[in-house]
Amino acid sequence: MINRTLSNVVLALIVVIWVVPFIALVATSLRSEMATKTSGFWTSFTPTILGHRFSTHDKTEVLKSNELRGNIFKRINKDQDWFPVSGNIESIMFKGRVPDPNNPDKTILMKKLVPVGETMEVRGGDFIFETNGDFVWTFPDGSKLKPKKLDVFVNQDPVFAPEAYVEVLIDNENVPNALISSFIVTIPATIIPITIAAFAAYAFAWMRFPGRDWIFIGVVTLMIVPTQLAFLPILQGFNGIASWMMALQELLTDCEATDSCAVPSKSFAGLWITHTAFGQPLAIYLLRNYIVGLPKELLESARIDGASHMQIFLKIILPLSVPALASFAIFQFLWIWNDLLVALYIGPSSSGERVFPILLEQQLGTFGDQLHLLNASAVISMVVPVIVFLAMQRYFIRGLLAGSVKGG
């Protein structure tokens, strides 16, 4: 039984290490900017003693009697829409200059923490406050008092609010644009490779042609080739196509008049084609392995019935291959949605068309000191892939296992 406890403890420890960062992410995205700069996220779940400044009354307020009553929390929260402060008042800091006992010509600064219930002197009057924030300030007749700003220490309740999300989604077009761009890049680049790879996979599985085995090995081995190797020529190629298309456009339309001839060489279409090409090895590998696992009798009886390969593929194999297609689709979707490298080199970089990973990487720099915004942006980028992932876990795992585990 010791073993069982040990197992539980060790596993729990590992899970904690894995999960705490996510908690940090979400917690930080729900805090205020000042909170993220002055304390760590782990302090935001329990009441903590924090300092705030409040002013006793507004400049415009006219004091009628010689007594001012108010509530410290109301004063602190006067302009605070998202993160209201609540909790228990601990103390207020009192500062004043008093004559230096050692040096009669000089003064020293006295700083004292005045606890709840004790009277303190403010602008010649008496100030007393309670734990719930109510305060009373009595001052002599005839004084016209300016508002006084005081440092108060509050045992503050945890407060979370989605201010960062509002700021990042609504006040700024970058995140919504990046979301849309990511969808625009990912969905076609997931669908299109399938139309090409499925046929090839079938051929590698059930058709005979010279060199089939070696070509298949070649195709699969290409999965390992670093894609950076191909970037320079691909970019040159797209540049060429772009100028060719521009020339064509100038020939066929009157775009020169409106100066709209420019054809960008880094575009969504470029990304679709590139990801389609880069995704072939994995797609062919997954699909072919799956098709090979289907019963050969299917093929043989259909051939006997006189069906052509095309008919067998379209009518029998493709419908049966849906699990493998799903596996590839989710792999490809996640891969492209999260991809930074290819998008950086080959995809559009303008602010309206960047995909999310590029935006996030730039925000690491620009939002480096606005952690709440950075984390909110990161959460938004993760919502889609995590949901897709959790929903299609089974197919993802199946894909991972294809060919990695020998036997059953």
């Binding site: 960062p21 304390s39 003693i49 299109i192 892939p385």
Partner: protein, 417 residues
């Protein structure tokens, strides 16, 4: 009697030529004809903006919907062209065979069967050749040229010349790659095995495994943001309060545990040399899920009899694992290890996002990026250096490629397909 090979070859050529002529023109037509759809969608976007009261600028709404429409029709056109391809080639294949070999149905079938596989694999192979194979060789060529085209090995001089641009960086990259190679796969495997073994024996194991697995869904950059919260530090330190507390203003979790003061703002991954380990950990955090899944399945595949026999013989859990289970999944461990090695060699996003300009953290992939964008050599000479480093990267993955090819070949022979 014309030889059958001739007919096959000439039919094939005819098919290829037809495809090359017809498909691009059809695509251009399809795009031009469907262009008004973009305007339709733009107007839809504007209308939605009005009726739903969005706070978007009108031109943004137009642009967005136009983009979405472009994507939609691209998908439809792509699928359409693809289907058109297969339909035309198929039709031509059987049609031409029938026309040219009227007498023997057997020969007709032979012709059709000879060409058809190439129809199926053709597009995939063409794409791969155009986008991976040919560019790879072109990059090789570029790496041996100067900007003006003369042949040279100068671009590789960072390998041997201490005064060459990239010499220092290459040494850093090699040192770091070695560290990453040794540590990241090892820890992924250790953690992956640990969770796979522990989770299978506990009731809440499935939940635990899901938690370990989720990081695989997020991007490397997202992971960088997540771990930045833990590894970064700093914070605005208030002055010490008289006879009171000094609130802890450290904002980084790990630095707080280690007792760093908030005024030392450097994130842990910026430390010289030691910072690398923090970057490596992020990758371990992401990839352990992969190892765990593979090992979980492999462990389940260990024959029950061997396990039961060992338990009867009185083996304790440690012996059970190390002497019975582990040896039987040894090949899986090797597979996971080789996969991790390749991933480590190619890793780019994590060091790029968190330490872009720091030579101390360079890896080959980030070194390439730095060569292209940061080392202002000016002009096109950059591309040649970029190509040379890319080739070095390629060389480091060649062993895995060979191993993989060998493994596949072995499988093929075993299955006798």
């Amino acid at each position: 009697m014309r030889s059958i090979m001739n007919i096959i070859a000439s039919n094939g050529l005819a098919i290829i030529l037809t495809v090359i002529c017809v498909l691009p023109i059809t695509a251009i037509f399809a795009y031009s004809l469907s262009a008004p759809l973009d305007d339709l969608f733009s107007n839809l976007g504007l209308w939605l903006r009005e009726t739903q009261g969005w706070s978007l600028a009108p031109i943004e709404a137009e642009l967005r919907f136009a983009k979405i429409s472009f994507a939609l029709r691209s998908v439809v056109i792509a699928v359409g062209i693809s289907s058109l391809y297969f339909w035309i080639t198929n039709w031509l294949n059987s049609g031409l065979a029938r026309v040219r070999e009227k007498k023997s149905i057997g020969r007709q079938s032979a012709i059709i069967e000879a060409i058809q596989p190439w129809i199926f694999v053709g597009p995939a192979l063409v794409l791969l050749t155009l986008f991976l194979v040919v560019p790879a060789f072109m990059t090789l060529g570029i790496s041996f040229q100067e900007a003006n085209g003369t042949l040279t090995t100068n671009n590789y001089s960072f390998l041997w010349d201490p005064k060459a641009l990239g010499y220092v960086q290459f040494r850093f990259a090699m040192r770091n790659s070695l560290m990453w190679l040794i540590l990241v796969p090892t820890f992924c495997i250790i953690f992956g095995l640990a969770v796979a073994v522990l989770a299978d024996s506990l009731r809440w194991g499935v939940v635990a495994k899901t938690f370990i697995f989720v990081p695989m869904a997020i991007s490397f950059v997202g992971a960088a943001v997540i771990w930045r919260n833990i590894f970064a530090g700093g914070g605005i330190e208030a002055q010490q309060v008289i006879n009171g507390f000094t609130p802890s203003y450290q904002t980084g979790l790990l630095k707080s545990i280690l007792g760093h003061s908030p005024s030392y703002n450097e994130p842990l991954y910026n430390l010289k040399f030691w910072g690398n380990f923090f970057l490596m950990w992020i990758m371990v955090w992401i990839k352990t899920g992969f190892a765990m899944v593979i090992f979980s399945a492999a462990l389940r595949g260990v024959p029950k009899e061997t396990v039961e026999a060992a338990i009867i013989d009185g083996a304790n859990p440690w012996q059970l694992f190390f002497k019975i289970k582990l040896p039987q999944i040894y090949s899986t461990v090797v597979v996971v290890w080789t996969y991790m090695v390749t991933e480590v060699l190619k890793v780019f996003d994590i060091p790029y996002a968190l330490s872009a300009n720091d030579d101390d953290k360079l890896l080959l992939a980030t070194m390439m990026e730095a060569a292209k964008n940061t080392w202002s050599i000016g002009g096109d000479a950059v591309d040649n250096l970029f190509a040379a480093i890319a080739i070095m990267l390629m060389i480091t993955v060649i062993p895995h490629m060979i191993f993989n090819a060998w493994r596949l070949r072995k499988e093929q022979k075993e299955l006798g397909n």
